[in-house]
Amino acid sequence: MLISMNWISEFTDLSGVDLKDLINRFTLSTAEVEDIYEMGKDIKDVVVGKIIEVNDHPNSKKLHLVKVDIASEVVEVVCGAPNVYVGAVVPFAKLGGRVGDLEIKEIPVAGVVSRGMCCSEKELGISDDNSGLMIIEEDYPLGTDIKEFMDLEDIVFEVDNKSLTNRPDLWGHYGIAREIAALNKRPLKPLELLDSSVYKDLGSIDLKLEDKERVYRFSCISMDNISKKKSPTNMRIRLTYCGMRPINLLADLTNYLMMEIGQPMHAYDNNKVKEIRVKTFSEPFEFLPLDGVKRKVDTDTLMICNAKEPIGIAGVMGGELSSISDDTSSVLLESANFDGTSVRKSATKLGLRTDASSRYEKVLDPEMTVTAIERFMKLLLDIDPGVKVTSSLTDSYVQHYDKIVVDFDKAYVDKYTGIDISADMMEETLSALGFDIDRNGDDFRVVVPSWRATKDVTMKADIVEEITRIYGYDNFDIYSTNSLLSPIRHSLKRDNEYRIKRFLSDKYDMNEVHSYIWYETKLLKEIGVHTEPNIRIINSVTAENDTIRSTIIPSLLGFVHKNVDSSPEMGMYEIGRVADGLNKDGLCNEKKRLGLVLASKILSEEEVFFRLKEAISQVIMEIKNISPEFVENDTINKHNYVHPVNSAGICVNGKEIGYFSVLNPRIRNNMDKKLHVAFAEIDIDDLETIDMVPLQYKEVSRYPGVTVDLSLLVEKSMRYEELAGYIDLYPCQYLNKYYLVDIFEDENLLPGKKSVTVRFEFVSMDRTLEGDEIQTMVDELLAVLNTKNIELR
């Protein structure tokens, strides 16, 4: 919103005030000022001139040679305006003067020298009227600088509208002036009004509010015999400077009032309005507002009607048919207060956000409606004294806001602020902002002014804000809290997430990625990944991506697909959320999952598979000090991207927390036949239910150990884990550890079998083991294995 300092100075004295500094304080105490414009600086040496002679231009039909009397001299200029006539009094820019970007110099125009310029309103920045020369109707001596009677010089600042959303009182100059007066510690002048009670004996307007929920108050008055059509120059300058286009006196006055006190008003042609009804309709219908675009109006939209005929959309815009024109001499003036939410919804539905609707949305003070009419009448009668009021001020006030009384004391404010603001200063500030104050020492009882009581100020904390913002946050002493020291319990779970990430990135050179919480349907379709139905978003702007993921793997496979052309090798992981269906309360069962994927065109599929298995084992080891077990799990086969054979569940302490798999060849072939991919998903929440095994130091023997490699012949289908189980059947205190060295398979040499070489380490804590002791233990071990049909090769 644009604010004119000239306008503000009508309501509070600004003499001797540094305006730039004041605007900065306004930003810090009230609302953000985005820009400051110095108006009128680019108009120089423009004086009142009278056209005393008009002659045709020898070389042009459009141009005229004009003689202008500016008292000190008569100047000859070339003028292109269509409305030149002898006797016209116009703004005339002298040589050496300036009009906007134009410096006035002696120049030939179509071969004739011109020594000045007659100006239009647009050239002077008064309005956008460029149809011809501005005609000065008032009687000023020729040669008078126009700045002596036109308020062209002004400081205009633009306030960020967003920072005013909670301040309905600041949507007009008078409210801004109140803030500035409080900041300057100078008084705010009362608005000059016309006392409407003088018309109370005139007949009232036929007004009925059929809907009493969407409307708070409706005030109106009618008048006749309006003769002036054009607003005074200075009023038009103000409107233009504040971003409104001057139209005609009545329209300008309603806009002027809206800009001045924030109350939207509407003037209807009084000949077209006999009985005002405010209501909704039971059927949708079409309506033509002033902007000329026909709209469908629904049954929730409040309308102003002449009897049954709708003539305006309440709080949004009047209708075309009842609108005033330049010739209207009899009007009905509406000044009403509608429910903010209702207006916002109507404006949104109609796609018609107006200056009026955006003010109503902020929840305006209904006390303003009559003030606005009385101010309007005062201004109108000053401009056009012949106007005749034809009705009493008709006012239907159906909903009142409660009077808000807040009790507080200085101690409360001190605690909230942490500093000492004197009770006198509190009183002074609140009083300047319009609060009624009943103070007893440090105890206050304040009544919130009506313009702040619609939603903005309701409680003690709000009062603190009023006091502190005017006091100035820059003036605060700042200090730390008086806190005791107490140890902070940090969540190990959170630390673990970071450790997992660091581990995978540092040890396995993987890249952390972030993906969306929903399935990206198009991408997954490309690679043929099917997803399970899951809870959906009902209003996504990208409608196809509406299913919340129940597993993180499809997101990662999508990323593999996106990168496959540029990265022959990749490792990615994400810790992200999924919705694992709904819980018994119908809420999403949100889980945090770790997804990993390795892909390579260089390593074999088996190498990728085992590298991923190692990463999983190591990462679980890293944070839990437990080696996971891998088990068969048929349920994961429901996913069409899981490999039917090369996949397994991941178990920690017997609890299954995830699975890993080679990518199903069907999906792989959709990406790249040569790409070897394995992926895993681990539920972080489940993993975190498992306690970490504390690390224990184990004494090592001072005596050398002896290692023995045994190649064992087993069935080809036997998994290593089964073999290990049989080895564990042999109880031997000196068998310190054993591990796999090699697996050899050769269908010709060893049909149906394979040779598994295991290295056994025997060691004693108290002596060196003798050769024959070792041999005895090996024999005993082989005897145990023989019972399971396992022979030495």
């Binding site: 603190v464 990135s505 978003i537 209003n539 490792g571």
Partner: protein, 346 residues
């Protein structure tokens, strides 16, 4: 005998001068000092002499032995030095400008900055908390003083789910849960908590708009937390985050969950506060919203607003990461594009 020693000495020096390798040197050592070496033989021959002769001859033989030993050691050194110089001369010269080819793993840029900020807050005694991404309307709106029909519900383009839940639009959705988890703080021991999180807005993507982004929110609640404390903490914390002595400025700002609410500006790092294009000539950059937690929000969190006060602040983490790394297109974060993500090697 003495003549013999002179001959041996002469022979040794002649042979030594011809030695070119360590192997030859060892041979000479053996042939003079070994068990059957010439010098050893002379030492043995001393037995046959009279004590008088033995004394003179013994000294001579031993002196010859020492001379030979020393000469061998010195020659050894010369040979080693020569070998060394030879190796260096013939060494293959490695091109140290050849780049290393290992692609190291990376963290997501959000993780990197988030961790840095978490660590700063930890040093100031903040607990780090986490919240759900799928939230109830109550937690996301009502509990932070945004009632039904509030315009903020229109403005925040919310993703609603079939079951009435929603994807959280701001980290403030976790406030109520955290307050209830920790309860009213003990006297003098304010609750200090930081809760980063992923938030969602239902809007179309472009270079500066993402539907999925990160925020980072903090709260401090206690029996005497004031606006003065808020300004102090913000100044200290932001100085740490930006690694410079930050000046802060508070302006009134309206957010339903705080009262009073502020927009916090920091002095512009580019111009130091004098005014430049980055800060639109104001010297200040709008950084984060903050304020004193609204009494209604405390009440709904089970904390008595007559006894306790608190402040809260929110930081656009994604925006901060963009500032720190000079990232122009916000879509990079969720792209999974390894060419982009592999750059964040911390």
């Amino acid at each position: 005998m003495l003549e013999n020693l002179d001959k041996i000495k002469q022979q040794f020096h002649d042979e030594l001068n011809a030695v070119e390798s360590k192997g030859e040197l060892e041979k000479i050592r053996v042939s003079f000092l070994g068990k059957k070496g010439l010098v050893t033989q002379e030492l043995k021959n001393l037995r046959d002499l009279t004590p008088e002769e033995k004394k003179t001859a013994g000294m001579k033989v031993n002196s010859l032995k020492q001379e030979i030993e020393k000469a061998i050691v010195e020659h050894q050194k010369i040979l080693e030095e020569r070998e060394y110089l030879e190796e260096i001369k013939s060494a293959k010269v490695y091109d140290f400008t050849i780049p290393s080819s290992r692609e190291v793993g990376t963290l997501h840029p959000i993780t990197i900055i988030q961790k840095q900020i978490e660590d700063i807050f930890k040093t100031m005694g903040f607990i780090i908390e986490d919240g759900l991404e799928i939230q109830t309307e109550y937690n996301n709106f009502e509990a932070v003083n945004i009632p039904k029909n509030h315009p903020a519900r229109d403005m925040q383009d919310t993703y609603y789910l079939e079951n009435g839940q929603l994807l959280k639009t701001h980290t403030s959705a976790a406030q109520n849960t955290i307050m209830r988890k920790y309860g009213e703080p003990k006297k003098g021991e304010p609750l200090k908590v930081l809760f980063p999180g992923r938030c969602f807005r239902n809007e179309n993507l472009d270079a500066s708009h993402e539907n999925t982004f990160f925020q980072l929110e903090g709260m401090m609640i206690g029996d005497d937390i004031s606006i003065s404390n808020l300004i102090y903490f913000m100044k200290v914390l932001l100085s740490e985050v930006f690694e410079r002595d930050v000046k802060v400025r508070l302006r009134p700002g309206f957010f339903p969950f705080v009262e009073p609410g502020f927009e916090l500006d920091i002095n512009c790092a580019i111009c130091g506060g004098d005014g430049c294009a980055t800060c639109k000539q104001t010297g200040w950059l709008e950084l984060l919203p903050c304020g004193m937690i609204h009494p209604n929000v405390l009440s709904m969190g089970g904390i008595d607003p007559d006894k306790y006060t608190g402040f809260a602040f929110g930081l656009g983490l994604t925006r901060l990461v963009m500032m720190k790394y000079n990232i122009k297109d916000i879509r990079m974060f969720n792209s999974g594009n390894l060419k982009q993500l592999r750059q964040f090697t911390r």
